[in-house]
Assembly symmetry: C2
Homo-oligomer: 153 residues x 2
């Protein structure tokens, strides 16, 4: 595998994390983390496991699972739910919080950030004297490509 070394700083960040107290440097975990951060996609455990198996047949589902959970604990990954019963993980990149458009036909995931929406959410919260800790906004439908294909049917 080719590792994007621009992402290596993320690993260093991980190494410095307080959660790392008591952790050892395992080759397998490092490989999983590098691959995950480099690909920068929305991976289910299964998907990441299958991709990594291609480049290294020596890694188990359990290890991939535990590594993704660990990254989540350390704040380097986020769990996503897209209403299909599968938990996906995405790297937390510097480009902060964002929400998602999910194509129900091809599965494509588009990220977006809309500050006006975020602001209006706060207005809603204020109205109900509610403190928002986090939120989930997902827009489901058809991406542009799938719309074209649909018309062709």
């Amino acid at each position: 595998m080719k590792v994007n070394f621009k992402k290596q700083n993320r690993l260093k960040e991980f190494s410095k994390d307080k959660s790392k107290i008591g952790l050892k440097n395992s080759q397998k975990r490092t490989l999983i983390i590098e691959y995950f951060l480099h690909e920068d996609k929305h991976f289910s455990v299964e998907e990441l496991y299958n991709e990594i198996k291609k480049i290294s047949s020596e890694i188990s589902y359990s290890t991939v699972y535990r590594t993704l959970k660990l990254l989540t604990t350390c704040g380097l990954a986020d769990e996503c739910n897209f209403d299909d019963g599968i938990t996906r993980f995405e790297p937390v990149h510097k480009a902060q919080h964002h929400d998602h458009l999910i194509c129900k036909r091809c599965g494509k995931i588009i990220e977006f950030k809309n500050n006006e929406i975020e602001k209006l959410q706060q207005d809603v919260a204020k109205k109900y004297k509610f403190s928002i800790k986090f939120h989930r906004l997902a827009l489901y439908g058809l991406c542009s490509e799938c719309k074209k294909k649909q018309r062709g049917n």
Copy 2:
């Protein structure tokens, strides 16, 4: 159980539904539907099952489950996911679509509708040439009452 007969029109609506072709009029299903529509809450199968058991010990979890799924198919109920791994069902009432504030401490669910947010979602979709079929917006945090209690700790 006291049935709110103002809601009976909903049942008639159900009876007319095309999906009802081939369905028989079962007393148990009717009881479940009446209770569900009358209470107008966000029920998990387990919760609805437990409440109905109190008034009629003769109904099984399976039947409650199947009835809620049937209502969903008929468009009289919606499934909700509030990030706790439990599917909840809510009646689809005339007061159309809405989104939710969910208190992570006491579980309270507040419904809200914000047309500006809905509008901005369409703007986002347009930007990506995406057709939104439906969306989910959930704001998680602390309700006003729980905020007070938290300070008291």
